[in-house]
Subunit: 402 residues, 2 copies
Amino acid sequence: MRFWLECRKCGKQISFHINAGACSCGGALRVEYDLELVKHTLSKESLNNRIASMWRYAELLPIEKTENIITMGEGFTPLVPLTKAEQALPLGKLWVKREEQNPTGSFKARGFSVALSIANEYGIHKVAVNSNGNAASALAAYAGFAGMEAYVFLPKDCPWLIIEECLHYGAHTYLVDGLIQDAGKLIREGEQEQKWYNVGTMKEPGRAEGKKTMGLEIAEQLHWKLPEVIIYPTGGGSGVIGMWNAFQQLKQLGFIQGDLPRIVCIQETGCQPIVTALQNNDLFSPQSEDVNSSPTGMRVPYPPDGQLLVSIIRQSGGTALAVSQEEIRQAQLSLGKLGISSSPEGAATWAGLIRLLDQGGISRYNEVVLFNTSHAMKYRQFSHRTLPVVKSYKEWVGLNPS
Amino acid sequence: MRFWLECRKCGKQISFHINAGACSCGGALRVEYDLELVKHTLSKESLNNRIASMWRYAELLPIEKTENIITMGEGFTPLVPLTKAEQALPLGKLWVKREEQNPTGSFKARGFSVALSIANEYGIHKVAVNSNGNAASALAAYAGFAGMEAYVFLPKDCPWLIIEECLHYGAHTYLVDGLIQDAGKLIREGEQEQKWYNVGTMKEPGRAEGKKTMGLEIAEQLHWKLPEVIIYPTGGGSGVIGMWNAFQQLKQLGFIQGDLPRIVCIQETGCQPIVTALQNNDLFSPQSEDVNSSPTGMRVPYPPDGQLLVSIIRQSGGTALAVSQEEIRQAQLSLGKLGISSSPEGAATWAGLIRLLDQGGISRYNEVVLFNTSHAMKYRQFSHRTLPVVKSYKEWVGLNPS
């Protein structure tokens, strides 16, 4: 057996199955791999010959047959050094992981590449997701590519361009009068009747495994020496869970040694259950009221694995911060001027970085990776800018007296 | 000397210099490399160890010192097999080169990475471009990243999201009452007074060299066996010129053998000087009137190297086609349903493919590569869609009686 499921709570092992759900003890199941077997084919050197997508780590993804893989060129996104910023800020090294360069312009491509590969392996044709936006457009695209039917349910204040994307990829697209968990409830209620396969966060084993590849990539791209700090925008947090899992597996494979990065989770003020839990003796509970942050991927009052997230942050020596909408707006401008198109979520990591530098949470020797999870464009509100229109250089000079 | 300039007309060789301009005979200059020297370090095997960006081919790019390279993770974009379409259409193999996964969501990133690296090498701080859109936003981003000042001039009907991108990256952004060549004239008129470095199409040596990497990548990604047909959306056509150059260099290096691909250039009806030239005994002349196609990258009535483009198409055994706006619209829908976000330019290659299949220009054994040069989102017009808003599954079922 190359991979199986293991209960995070009681440790019980069961065969991998798409509908395994939770353990009989109620614990969440995680995919585990026979790492001794993995070592036979996966070495640092073997990676040199492989495809420049996240499927270069195929041994660590739960697909039986290569021909079932649904891939559109996701992952192995650039890790770009922000040299100008390094010079201006009191830190060691700074990189941005450019997840906006994935298909559909966001990191969500990774999860759905794996989730739909598994679905494909099990002959599934109808899939549904609740989402704040990027997961929906990614599912829509991957379902289109795989020839599956997609149903996506979004909060009604979802950015209009993302709604357009879902429609463009041919998904059945609906708005929900509520938040992401209300959309999730609708899908669960319809599961039996509609027979759609629910690919919501942590509802199936593939998406977290896909996100894991972000951790594998950082390690490989930094030549198997992890950075000291990872700053990550956090909603459901499956990216953090996936990356942490990646680091454990890389340690067991002997690919990396030493301390793991401090994980810093960024949320937006107004929806910050992880931040609140850290302030509250690490006791996580969903944020049931007063949710008033912007419609971004960070607005997840009920992260399904909140307690696990809190324990990973603590174990890593990291922290969680809530930044304001205005800090995010300023951060988008700062990153834009550095040539980086950042979504509000990606910009939030820059805002978090600035805050940590102010507070002394990052020193002038630290190596830091920011995650830019998606593209600025997706969140652009329509504007009728009045820009100067000119006919000639002479006219232009008239506008710009030096 | 690792690289130099050579006149395409009289063959004269001169030292590489950023301001070399044209040959004394009036011919255009092209960068040439000492390919014997290149062979010392560049082999098929050596590529396995290299970065997953277009800078993996650094020996074939005209930069003296590595530290001058301006790179944000451009190139080595996925070449994705469109398996569903292969099954549905009477052709052999079909791939799409996903150039929308570059920084700033378009293939233009490649050219500016090289152009601004050269500019950086010569200590230039102020750059200007005329553009139909994507080149402007790419220059804006790369200038931001490099710490240079960018001036971009766009036709006034440029898609609003691309204008927003330019502003976001901090470029001085102006609209011109005219077409791309009018914007180019403005820049040339201001060159002496403003001392901006003109990075317009074929105005400097870097952009065509950057585009060359698309050809290098296709060859490597298809394991050094080129496809039979490349379908490419054509405005200025520096992509075609660059790729053709790449194939020649790969032949000389012994990396590829045999026939080169047939090059099919796609234009939009209403601005089709290349198509017209092929109908007119291969005699190219700019389209000076009746320009009435959409504001996309294909709307270039005066391609600066039109005659060269025509001769490459002929030499390759290819052709040029003009497709209508409606064919492009339908093609965007078709590609969207396959999970691919395509710009009008990228979709035009699909429209061209369908036309060629109808006309028997592509057979059931041909291997075809389409170029999706940028992202659908960049061209999205604002829409106020009225989508159903629901509160619960019960309400949703009411909307969707099965």
